[in-house]
Amino acid sequence: MFDELRDLYDSVILERGRKPRNGTKLAVFDAEAKGDNPMCGDRVHVFVRHEAGRIAELGFAARGCAVSVAAADLMAEAVSGLSDSEALALGNSFEKMTKTGLGDEQSLATLRPMAGVAAYPSRIKCAMLPWVALAAALAGEGTASSE
């Protein structure tokens, strides 16, 4: 009865939302920020460790819906190895994809399972929460919200 929801709840999102692979706080990190959507209750705390000017590792602690947790988990993989500016540019591409459902760039490959969120405008903020938290972390700010 929920077959039509597979556009949002892609199997990757269901799996990553349930069992994120990168959902741990890093023991060593040099940037971090909390994302908080107080209207709905999603929270994510993002930790970043750089090496030689690039993001070597991203971990997070999240309490939220499948969409926000999966978005954080996929983000952790997508930004690994990127410079800060590359990661922020990817975040912009990702935001466009969440709004249009379109995103053919190679850089978006890992994140493409999230494209279905475009059909659910009230859920775009869930997908964006880890990205605004990452931007805050890289800017040296402590907190962010995508509401």
Binding site: M1, F2, L5, Y9, C40, G41, G64, C65
Partner: protein, 417 residues
């Protein structure tokens, strides 16, 4: 329309006839029947409310309280009839005890500002409970920070009931000037023991304000029998329009309370050196009031009165009992709050599925519920939760809709399970 009518013809409780009064309920959501279980956030409107507002705009509209012409006089009568209707609904002894605001949030801010700064003295305290809506928390925090008033928080039990011993402990030192507590939790559906709260608070010299936005939808409120000092509620949850709220204030308290906002309509005379205030309730009603909303709210009140609170409460009780039974049978679903005295607002969580995901899946089946904090973040935190899904009922909710909810939630569990 007879603006001054005092009585309302009663009708028998016929759920199909009631549903026919709410045309929006016939809407399809993506081809599926709308199952509207979000009345606790805002209720749907019966045709009589729409017609009353439309009639005013088509035939009888001008600004009020400036009655030098026919239209203004007639509109003033129609608008002021809302005050009479609200006074009758709550059994206020005097229509002047009814202040018309733009929301219940404004009512709390009015009391916090006017009673809080004008009557309470620095060093005194205000008590709220752990299960308050933000509208009954934030104005008191602002009062605390601006006026040196202590803010105390009465605990609730794990079942989601007010801890009366805890409340009494907070009152014991005699510093509490006001207890402001919900009559019915917008998250847990708990009815608070308002008679006991008022007696207890008064015994310690404190006034009492009740947040009635949820309760007055389901239960008869008698402010005289309760002996409550302030009682606030919003129009749009009682099948009326948005943009209007009601604040009952005991007559004897109004004199000492300064105005909240300044402007037109609340003065008796103005010069650049000095202005003097109009008498209550107009003292508290600055600016052009919610005229059309008042006309709509009066129609909503009469609609509720015609059905009658006995029938409304019986219907709510039947729905709530059925919903609690059906939802309790769903594996992995936890109903949040288990108060003995509770009504048609039910929050729940589901193992393995966040409230948003639940709400999105339900929405795809045409079922509208709310998910999140429900403007009560401290309560959600107190319960150790991040968010809940909430189904809330109205006079038009059916047993069949509860079954659709429960059946769909079974499938949601399968989807995420």
């Amino acid at each position: 329309m007879n603006a001054m009518s005092k009585s309302v013809a009663s009708r028998t409780f016929d759920i199909e006839a009631i549903r026919a009064d709410f045309p929006i309920l016939a809407e399809k959501i993506r081809g599926k029947d709308l199952v509207f279980l979000d009345s606790g956030a805002s209720a749907q409107k019966p045709v009589v409310v729409m017609e009353a507002m439309l009639h005013a705009m088509q035939h009888q509209y001008a600004n009020v309280h400036r009655g030098l012409h026919w239209m203004s006089e007639r509109t003033t009568e129609a608008y002021e009839a809302a005050r009479d209707a609200a006074a009758r609904l709550m059994n206020a002894s005097d229509r002047r005890e009814i202040v018309i605001t733009h929301s219940s949030t404004e009512a709390f801010n009015l009391v916090a500002h006017s009673f809080g700064r004008g009557v309470l003295k620095p060093g005194q305290a205000v008590v709220v409970s752990q299960m308050e809506h933000h509208a009954n928390i934030v104005p008191w925090q602002m009062l605390r920070d601006a006026h040196g008033i202590e803010l105390r928080v009465a605990p609730i039990t794990d079942a989601g009931e007010l801890d009366m011993d805890g409340l009494e402990t907070l009152l014991a030192d005699g510093k509490v000037g006001l207890v402001s507590i919900t009559h019915m939790s917008n998250v847990l559906g708990t009815y608070t023991p308002v008679e006991r709260i008022v007696k207890l608070a008064h015994a310690y010299g404190a006034k009492v304000m009740l947040d009635g936005s949820q309760a007055i939808v389901h239960r008869r409120v008698d402010v005289q029998a309760l002996d409550v000092d302030f009682y606030a509620w919003t129009g749009h949850k009682l099948y009326g329009p948005t943009g209007i709220g009601i604040l009952y204030t005991k007559r004897e308290l109004q004199e000492a309370m300064p105005p909240f906002m300044g402007g037109g309509d609340m003065i008796s005379s103005v010069s650049f050196e000095h202005s003097s205030w109009a008498e209550a309730p107009h003292k508290f009603e600055a600016g052009t009031p919610p005229i059309l909303e008042g006309i709509g709210l009066r129609a909503a009140i009469e609609y509720v009165e015609a059905i009658g609170y006995d029938a409304i409460a019986a219907h709510e009780s039947q729905l709530t009992e059925h919903a609690l039974a059906r939802l309790s049978d769903i594996e992995g679903l936890t109903i949040v709050g288990r108060a003995q005295d509770r009504g048609g607002v039910i929050s729940f969580t589901m193992d393995g599925a966040h409230a948003h995901d639940v709400a999105t899946l339900l929405d795809r089946q045409g079922i509208a519920v709310r998910a999140g904090f429900h403007c009560a973040e401290p309560l959600i935190r107190r319960l150790g939760l991040d968010s809940t899904s909430r189904a809330s009922f109205g006079v038009y909710t059916t047993m069949g809709e509860i079954d659709v909810l429960a059946d769909t939630l079974e499938r949601v569990r399968g989807f995420f399970g």
